[in-house]
């Protein structure tokens, strides 16, 4: 050890005094030679090569491998500078490949790794209730029973989203609130950044209302007010005392949760105490050490069995399920991202192949250089090392450019970010991502550097074989490598483009589905009425007046409101459900009846949406609270209730009493184009008022341009009520198809890159091979060959390679696209049209790339070509 340190010190000293080292070595040997000369030792033995001896001594004193590396690096940099066209082409290709991978990796890092930052994540589970045929939200009393009676959870906690309105800080603004039970934060393992978190004393109906703030809400909406603890903020016009602020890196299990209140404040309300008709909560648990998922489920189901006996009216047939939190929140997102990562990796592979090809071409140009080095005694490994140093230098530069490109791409991805992918907006270029980019660059550099290195080895073997012109290798071994690269390149491109094509067709299919209404020209906005004055009469009056005001806005054709808009809308508003039964015949007991969606609409809603009325009539202003209770059914419900007969005039019983069916409307896909049509029962809003509705406005022309005027019209009724989520209703499609669009956009970019890289690759190979054939072609032209024959010869071989590549790609795609099947709608993973179009398009592109350089050969002047070499 001490010896090693001593040696290191001396070496560093020698490094710092490099010139002195040289001079000393020189002097020492000169002295020796002089002494030899004096003593006539010369006769006895030759001295050998003094320069070589000097270098060997010198090597002892220096960091040989490091110095060689430095030398190689400088040499490599010089070579890159000398051939700017090559360097720029290679760097751009690498930057695209590495940039795409960096962007995808950073998104995956944000979504799959950083979105659930909880200790021992694998011990966290999400609990649901379940009827034989459908999952249910948990009811509060059931949750309380689980909490008190289970033996399997270290902790169990509940949450429920609850949007509210913050006032007192500028205009009233919506806040994404979440009700949590006091144990939620300890369960997730989070400590407050300021103040304290909830205790059991806060989590009671009679407690002073308190609130814990998310960090970004505290910083942005409350301007980072450090005096906020102990003060009250007004949420839904009630004062809540701020007791704590969460740390900046904390993320709740649902995105954008900005403030938290104790769920216990609500727990005494009749809706919370109802085991059947309840607002629904979500329950999380942390498993005790050693408890498995199935043990936990068995324990909960023992409790559920007891509850079913104790409360047969509400709990019969209900069971409980336990799922890992991770799988529940990210389970179906993970495969999507792994597929995206695979596609990005394929793009990088293409980039690698292209650069390998470029390097190969350049290695041939540098053949004389390597021959000289080999003949001066450079070892094969030494030359491969030189080549690898150059390619790694290139890939690191490309990687750096790729990171810049990736960073730019991340901004684009974040802007595209659909809300259904958690934490996507938090994508950052952090150290993990940078390490990834570095690793990817190194691997890339070695991968594409190996191709010419293999050749450099071969070149040495053939040193004696060719002293002028071309080496033998450039014709044979290099040619085979090149052909293999070309085939691989096209195959990879086919796979990526087919994947993109399938997703594109699937999305087009989805958008082509008849959603049951005409989305063009529709503006939508959400109103959630709050404040002490809110009651059912106020709700009805407010919505009636607001709609009247909106209809007066120039450019507005009609305006109506619905509780649960198509595709679930944007806000917290959800569709209600109820068991149903016909009045005219005996029905099973309530807990065995089928369920239907329940929705409230204003009278002109179906006309405004252009949803066809199939039978009977629409609601009118006469369907008021005092008049006969009526309902409209959709086709799906009508067919289930009265498969053969007339629905209009029949009566149906739900949670909302017994009602006469007055009309049947066409199918609306309530949960988006990919969902099935579900039975749905519509009630007149006047007969079942609610305080949250989505207003839909049919406009002439561009709906977005009327957003301001419509908002102003609503403010004239009550300026305190906030108008939320104003957007053309087509925005709902973006929301519900956001994930598909997001992945489609990425695949689109990858496909474009693949086509571009493949075309460049084919072009490169083709120009190289035509260059090689120049002389032969010159001779043939001189002998009278016609241009067409020349072209056929030049393109022929490459066309075969292209065909092989396309076939290989098609076969690979056939095997791989089934991984995409779950994302596809309306087409199979082997959609023949997509496959045919993609292969045909790529064949065209490849042939064009092949033809461009080949075309030039027909104009070769034989005399020039023959003199060329």
């Amino acid at each position: 050890m001490r010896e090693a340190l001593h040696a290191l010190r001396l070496r560093v000293k020698a490094l710092l005094h490099r010139r002195r080292l040289d001079r000393d070595l020189e002097d020492e040997l000169a002295f020796h030679l002089a002494m030899r000369a004096d003593s006539q030792a010369e006769a006895r033995a030759p001295f050998g090569n003094p320069t070589s001896l000097k270098e060997r001594c010198r090597d002892i004193w220096t960091f040989v491998s490091l110095e060689t590396f430095w030398q190689d690096l400088r040499y490599g940099a010089r070579m890159l500078r000398k051939t700017p066209a090559f360097t720029i082409a290679a760097l751009l290709t690498l930057a695209l490949g590495i940039g795409a991978n960096t962007a995808v990796f950073s998104v995956m890092n944000a979504v799959l790794v950083k979105s659930l930052p909880y200790p021992e994540l694998d011990r966290l589970v999400i609990l649901h209730e379940r009827l034989p045929r459908s999952p249910l939200n948990v009811s509060w009393p059931d949750f309380v029973d689980w909490r008190e009676q289970n033996h399997v959870f270290r902790q169990i906690a509940a949450y429920a989203p609850d949007e509210s309105i913050l006032s007192g800080y500028g205009d009233p603004q919506p806040v994404n609130g979440t009700l949590v039970s006091a144990r939620m934060f300890p369960l997730l393992g989070v400590e407050p950044a300021m103040g304290r978190l909830f205790t059991d004393a806060d989590d009671r109906p009679d407690a002073t209302p308190t609130v814990v703030l998310g960090y970004s809400f505290w910083r942005n909406q409350l301007h980072g007010d450090s005096q906020i603890l102990g003060r009250a903020i007004s949420l839904d016009k009630y004062p809540f005392v701020v007791i704590g602020v969460l740390p900046p890196n904390f993320r709740f299990v649902i995105d954008k949760a900005a403030v938290f209140y104790p769920i216990g404040l609500n727990s005494a309300t009749s809706r919370y105490q109802d085991r059947r008709d309840h607002p629904g909560i979500e329950a999380l648990g942390r498993l005790k050490p050693g408890v498995s998922l199935s043990q936990a489920a068995a324990d909960l189901n023992t409790i559920m069995a007891r509850l079913a006996i104790a409360y047969p009216q509400t709990n019969k047939d209900e069971t409980a399920t336990v799922d890992p939190l991770y799988r529940s929140l990210l389970g179906n997102i993970r495969p999507m991202f792994f597929q995206l990562a695979a596609a990005a990796a394929l793009v990088l592979l293409l980039a690698c192949v292209n650069v390998a090809n470029l390097m190969l071409t350049r290695a041939i140009a540098r053949e004389p250089e390597f021959r000289v080095r080999a003949s001066l005694g450079a070892g094969r490994l030494r030359m491969i090392r030189q080549l690898l140093t150059e390619s790694v230098l290139l890939s690191l530069l490309g990687g750096a450019a790729g990171v810049l490109l990736g960073n730019w791409a991340i901004h684009g991805l974040v802007r595209l970010a659909p809300p259904s992918i958690p934490n996507l907006a938090d994508t950052r270029l952090d150290s993990v991502v940078l390490w990834f980019a570095l690793g990817a660059s190194l691997v890339t550099g070695i991968a594409f550097g190996l191709a010419p290195s293999i050749r450099a080895g071969l070149a040495k073997v053939n040193l004696g074989a060719a002293e002028s012109g071309r080496l033998v290798t450039s014709g044979r071994a290099g040619g085979h490598l090149r052909s293999a690269l070309l085939i691989a390149e096209l195959a990879v491109a086919v796979v990526v483009v087919i994947a993109a094509g399938l997703l594109f067709r699937s999305l087009a299919r989805t958008l082509g589905v008849d959603s049951g209404f005409d989305a063009r020209g529709l503006l939508a906005l959400d109103l959630t009425l709050s404040g002490p004055q809110v009651n059912p009469q106020y709700d009805t009056r407010f919505f009636t007046q607001a709609l009247e005001q909106i209809r007066r806005v120039p450019g507005v054709e009609s305006a109506d409101a619905v509780m649960c808009p198509p595709m679930g809308g944007i806000g917290a508003g959800s569709c209600w459900t109820s068991p149903y039964a016909p009045e005219d015949r005996p029905a099973p007991p309530e807990n065995q009846r089928p369920w239907t969606l329940i929705n409230m609409v204003t009278p002109g809603y179906f006309r405004t949406m252009k949803t066809p009325l199939l039978q009977g009539r629409s609601f009118t202003n006469l369907d008021g609270p005092q008049s006969a209770q009526v309902a409209i059914v959709n086709q799906a419900l009508a067919l289930r209730m009265w498969p053969s007969g007339q629905a209009v005039g029949q009566r149906i019983r739900t949670f909302f009493g017994s009602r006469e069916v007055v009309g049947v409307i066409g199918g609306v896909r309530q949960f988006g184009p990919r969902s099935q049509q579900q039975p749905e029962l519509f009630l007149p809003a006047a007969q079942a008022p609610v305080n949250f509705m989505t207003v839909v406005v049919r406009t002439h022309g561009d709906p977005a341009s009327l957003a301001g005027a419509v908002t102003a019209a609503i403010r004239t009724v009550d300026k305190e009520q906030p108008v939320l989520h104003v957007m053309p209703i087509t925005g709902y499609f973006n929301r519900i198809l956001g994930r598909e669009r997001f992945s489609m956009a990425l695949y689109g970019v990858f496909a474009a890159l693949s086509i571009l890289l493949a075309a460049v690759g084919v072009y490169g190979v083709s120009s190289y091979s035509t260059g090689q054939m120049r002389r032969g072609i010159g001779i043939r032209i001189a002998l009278g060959a016609r241009p067409f024959e020349i072209l056929r010869q030049v393109i022929g071989r490459n066309a075969l390679l292209i065909a092989a590549g396309l076939c290989a790609g098609t076969v690979t795609a056939l095997a791989c696209t089934r991984w995409l099947a779950s994302q596809l709608f309306g087409i199979t993973a082997h959609d023949p049209l997509t496959f045919t179009l993609v292969v045909a398009a790529l064949a065209l592109v490849a042939l064009a790339a092949c033809w461009l350089p080949a075309r030039r050969t027909t104009r070769i002047d034989p005399a020039t070509a023959l003199r060329y070499e």
């Binding site: 001396l10 020492e28 040997l29 002295f31 020796h32 050998g48 001896l53 060997r56 001594c57």
Partner: protein
């Protein structure tokens, strides 16, 4: 034939480990008599071995530098008898200790070989 001096070869052959070690030992021994320059080391070994061992420069200088780097030798520049600038090597404390170790090992080994050969 037997009159040809044995040559102590360079350091690059893998089988040269024994020779390498031997050369190091001889160099240390040569310097145990006091400081000397490379040429003197070679000459002393040559003459002391009655012209049997001849140290090649190609092996001597790398060996000297390696030993210096390992801290067994120290070096300084001085002026030789004939007024030339020369690099003088001398043993460090570690060098003396190493020489003692090697001498002991050598005598054990050569004694053992001798007993075998003359048995």
């Amino acid at each position: 034939m037997a009159d040809f001096p044995k040559r102590i070869m360079g350091d690059t052959t893998p089988t040269g480990d024994l020779m390498q070690g031997t050369l190091d030992m001889l160099v240390l021994k040569a310097l145990s008599r006091g400081r000397a320059h490379g040429y003197a080391v070679a000459e002393w070994i040559h003459q002391t071995s009655s012209d049997v061992l001849r140290v090649e420069e190609g092996a001597l200088y790398p060996a000297l530098h390696r030993l210096e780097l390992r801290g067994l030798l120290a070096s300084e520049w001085g002026v030789s008898d004939n007024n030339r600038r020369a690099k003088y090597y001398s043993l460090t404390a570690a060098g003396h200790k190493r020489l003692a170790d090697e001498t002991e090992q050598w005598s054990r080994l050569s004694g053992a070989i001798a007993r075998v050969m003359y048995a």
